[in-house]
Each structure stands twice: as C-alpha cells, then as structure tokens.
C-alpha cells in the first residue's frame, strides 16, 4: 500500500518541470493588482494609523494615541456592537429561510418549483440602494403598507423609522431578504449532492421525514452551511449601501454600522489616520472571527 501511495508523488515534480514562464505570465496581472489594491493600502493604512493624517501633505506621527482614543470612543464601540447584533440576528434567520426555500424548491412533491426558483431570485437583481428604498417605502410610518395593514387589523401604527430597535428590525429583515437568493442557490447544490441512497436506507429503517432531515440532510450539507455563515458574517461586516438608503444609520446614529462609521470619520471628517486605526482594529477582529470559524469547521470535519 505504502509503495503505491508514494509513486504518483514522485512523478509529480518531473511532470511540471521547467514550466515557470507560463504560470508567471498567467498569474502576473492578478499579483500586480493584488499588491497595488490590497497589500499597499493595508500597509499604508497600518502606517497612517500611527499618524494624524488628514489627507494633506503635512502630518506627524502620533504613536499609539489614535488607538487609545479609539478605545475610549463610544461611537466606534456602539457601531461595532450594532454590527455584531446585526450579524447575530440576520445570519441564523438567513440560513433557516434560505435552507427552507432550497428544501421546498428541491422537494418533488411541491408544484411549480421551476417558477418558484426564478421568483425567489428576484431580490438578487435588486441593488442594495434600491433594497433599502423598497423597505423604507413599505415600512414608512405614515404611508407604509405595513402600518396600514396593522391599522386595518385594529392595531396601532408602529414607529418603524423613529424607534431605534424597530428600525433595526427592518434593517435585519431587509438584509435577510436581499441575501436569501444566493444562499438558496448554494443550498440547492448541496442538497442535490446528498446521496439519495442514504434517504432510501433510512426510509426502510422507518425514519420519518424530520429524522431524515436532521440525521442525513443537515450533516450532508454542513460544509455549505459553514460557507453560508461565513459569507453572511463577512457580508454583515461590509453592510453599508443598504443602510444608507434605508435609514442612513438612523434614527440618529443608533443603527450606524461599522463601515459607515469608518466612512464618516475617514471621509466626511477627513480624519484618515484615525479611521485607519479603526480599520486596523476591525481587521484584527475579522482575522479572529475567520480563524474561529475555520477552527470550528475543521473540528466538524468540513474542509
């Protein structure tokens, strides 16, 4: 056994001998772009985070004072906290709904599955700016259909725009709505790749539909679920455009997410050095989040 395992590896280097030029040419554009638009900004961002740079040529090095100011900056922490709340509320909801949609769309008993798949995809076509607009329109306090319906049932209209927690609910719903289609697509592929013979065997053993779902489907699609959670977390941290048109982070600054905070300090107030320090803190948090998720994934036997 050991011998046969070793053989292909020995052949491998010979096969690709002296093929340096072609891969270099193929990969060069990507490497150049990667260096200019990722490594360089990350490096000067790191440098500026130790300065009071405001976009002008004159600036001085201020050491760690940006970081110590950031630690005491209530606005920064509240935007960071709101972002995590947003992720914690929207990601599980998104996973459940997109998985449910994927299960129904792949269920042979449901009628009209092809059309349903297409209709589910409509939100994917809507840009974040227009998503925010649509939900703002539906949840308008005086004119929105949601309050009209609530009143139609005899309830009191809710303050969707001026109550910070209700505004947050709208934000979560809009985010879930916008992200569902793509995750559904990921889940559909995963569901179709679960071995059908496992279901047949379980049926023979008398497992009901729910038991089959919990014991066969969920473990079978675990790597995809991991992917959806990871992409959802990253998407939540990036969220900006949709909030801009939904409520601009309002009422007040209560629903300001962290990218908006960086945007406002870095561009509206031109405190680039300070905003860079915030970016660096966020980068560290992101690395930790992704390491934890990768560790969890590996422990669960995913890739």
């Amino acid at each position: 056994m050991a011998k046969t395992k070793g053989r292909p590896k020995e052949q491998h280097p010979n096969r690709l001998k002296r093929q340096i030029a072609a891969p270099l040419i193929l990969i060069a554009p990507a490497i150049v772009l990667y260096l200019i638009f990722f490594i360089w900004p990350a490096a000067i961002g790191f440098f500026y985070s130790f300065t009071n740079y405001k976009g002008l040529s004159k600036y001085k090095i201020v050491g760690l004072s940006n970081y110590s100011a950031l630690l005491a900056d209530h606005d920064f922490w509240s935007s960071l906290l709101r972002t995590f709340e947003y992720i914690i509320c929207s990601v599980p909801l998104n996973v459940c709904l997109s998985l449910l949609a994927a299960v129904l769309v792949t269920n042979r008993k449901a009628i009209g599955r092809t059309l349903a798949r297409t209709l589910f995809f409509i939100p994917w076509l809507v840009s974040p700016i227009i998503t925010g607009l649509i939900w703002r329109w539906m949840f308008g306090e005086g004119f929105g259909i949601v309050n009209q319906v609530i009143q139609g049932f005899g309830g009191h209209p809710l303050r969707w725009a001026t109550d910070s927690n209700l505004a947050f609910v709208v934000l979560v719903l809009a985010g879930v709505w916008a992200g569902m289609a793509f995750n559904m697509l990921l889940f559909i592929t995963a569901l179709e790749n679960v071995q059908q013979s496992l279901y047949e065997a379980a049926s023979l053993d008398g497992a009901n539909a729910w038991q089959r779902f919990v014991h066969i489907t969920l473990p079978g699609i675990a790597p995809t679920t991991f992917m959806v959670v990871l992409l959802g977390t990253i998407g939540g941290i990036k969220e900006f455009a949709m909030v801009q048109s939904l409520n601009g982070g309002g009422p007040g600054t209560s629903n300001r997410l962290v990218v908006q905070y960086i945007y406002e300090t870095g561009f509206s107030n031109s405190r680039i050095g300070y905003a860079s320090a915030a970016s660096m803190v966020l980068l560290v948090i992101l690395v930790i989040v992704s390491l934890i998720q990768m560790w969890l994934n590996r422990r669960n036997g995913g890739r």
Partner: protein, 292 residues
C-alpha cells in the same frame, strides 16, 4: 407518499379518490413553497404597483392595493428629471469593461493556481483566501489614497481597475480547472503546444460554463456597486446609476413619486440579462466556487 402517487396513476377510474390523494401528496409542500415565494416576491411587486400610482394616490388614506388609476406620469417625470441615458452609459461602461477584465484575469489566475504547483502559487492562493476574509470596504480610506495617488481619482478607470480581481472569480476557475485531467495538458505538450497555447486553445474554450456564470455574477456586482463609485467619483457627470439614485434618496424630502419609477427603470437592464441567462444563474453549480 410515492405509493399514493403511483396508486393515483394506476387507478384513474376512481377519480375523486385519486384527486384527494394528489392533494394530500402535493398540498402541504406546495402551499409552503408558494407562501414563501409570495413573501419574498412581495416587496418588488409592491414597488412596481406603487410606481404606477399618481403622486396624489401614493399617500392616500385609505390605501388602495392596486392603483385606482394606472399612470405612467411618474415614469415620464423620472425619465425627464434624471439623466438616465448618461448614468446607464457610465454604469454599462464600468460593468462591461470590468466584467471582461475580471473574467480574463480570473481564468488566467485560476488556471495557473490549479495546474502549476509551486510555493509561490500556493502562497498567492493563501493571499487570495485572505482577501475574501478581509473585505476592502474595511480599509477604504487607505485604498482611496492609493487610487488617488496613482491618478485615477474621479475617473471611471478608478472604479474599474481596483475591482478586477475578485476572490470568488479566481476560486471558481481554480475549482473548475482542478477537475480537468492533467493528461490533457500532457497530450497537448506531446503534440507540440506551448503552455500558453494549451491555455488559450484548449483550457479557455472548455471552461465556457464557468466564464458565462462569472460574467453574469460580475456584471451584477458592478451594476449594483455603490461604495467605490461613491468614493472615487466627484463629478456628477461621471456618476453611476446607484450613486445617482442615492443622491435622490439622500435628499431632505424624498420625492417618492419620482424615486419609485426611477428605481424600477434602473433595474430593467439586469432583469433583461437575468431573463436571457437564467439557466446559467439558477442552474449553476456555484457551490464549487466557494469550496476553496
């Protein structure tokens, strides 16, 4: 359940029985599916309905579900007030050029990462992996300074060039080319093909499904992009559609009767593309792209 269906097929005579069996078999799943579909399609449906209402009817109490009087006055007003031709043009230029470049660079890089195994290709792959983890939005102020310093501020090129490389695109092609057997390259080498010829004449043509899927995705990303155009573009003549729409949303008093039709108009190009390329999106094997 499947036995119920086959029974129904076997005994068409007992029609009332078989109809009942069919309803029992298909009913619950179908009802749940369509309930969910209605929930998800409703917001866009409501946007479209509202866009055909007159300015006076939009805020009328009690509200009517369907417009009492269908009018396209809002569309005419939106079209005359917003320079759609210009914004469509700008956005199309950005989306098309970026998409072409993204597909080219992603195919080249993905192929090299899949088929040439060196320490530096592996290192670069880890770098790309990190990019998905760390979105560039987070470091936007230094990124902006870089774009400004290389002289791309306030130009469409300033949006196009930084968005060319996407981790997703590179992953997609890498995963795709990993499934292509190395023997194909070997055979081509024996036949005297150079490495670049192998890529251009053999590998690119067989990766067509990948090319189409990434092209559609990339076009959608760029059409709906907001943050980069917002940062880079200063001159309203160069605005893309999303930035132009945002200036309307950001106004002190939103003019809904114009904004709603304008939103519908802005979605038309993507809807058309979706209609023609649906099978490549809804049927695509996107999972492969994210398995890394």
């Amino acid at each position: 359940m499947s036995s119920a269906i086959s029974q129904a097929k076997d005994a068409p005579v007992r029609s009332s029985n078989s109809v009942w069996a069919r309803i029992k078999a298909h009913g619950p799943a179908t009802i749940m599916l369509w309930f969910l579909v209605i929930c998800f399609a409703f917001p866009v449906f409501w946007l479209i309905l509202s866009s055909f209402k007159g300015a006076d009817e939009l805020f009328a109490v009690p509200m009517s579900f369907f417009p009492r009087k269908w009018t396209t006055a809002g569309y005419a007003e939106a079209w005359s007030r917003i320079d759609f031709a210009r914004y469509f043009g700008n956005t199309a230029v950005v989306a098309i050029i970026t998409t072409v470049l993204t597909v080219m660079v992603s195919a080249m890089t993905g192929y090299a990462l899949a088929k040439y195994d060196y320490w530096w290709t592996r290192l670069f792959f880890i770098g790309i992996l990190l990019t998905t983890m760390l979105p560039t939005e987070v470091i936007m102020s230094p990124s902006f300074i870089v774009v400004r310093d290389i002289g791309l501020y306030n130009s469409l090129a300033g949006i196009i060039v930084p968005s060319i490389i996407t981790a997703t695109g590179i992953f997609m092609f890498r995963q795709y080319f990993l499934t292509v057997p190395d023997e194909m390259m070997q055979a081509a080498r024996v036949d005297g093909c150079s490495e670049m010829q192998i890529f251009l004449r053999i590998m690119l043509p067989i990766s067509k499904p990948c090319i189409v899927t990434l092209a559609i995705f990339s076009f959608q990303w760029r059409w709906n992009d907001y943050i980069w155009p917002l940062l880079i573009l200063n001159d309203s003549k160069r605005f893309t559609l999303q930035v132009a729409l945002r200036t309307l949303v950001g106004a002190e008093k939103i003019d809904w009767s114009v904004l709603l039709p304008a939103s519908v108009i802005s979605m038309i190009p993507l809807v058309l593309i979706f209609m023609f390329c649906q099978k490549y999106i809804v049927g695509s094997d996107v999972d492969a792209a994210f398995k890394g």
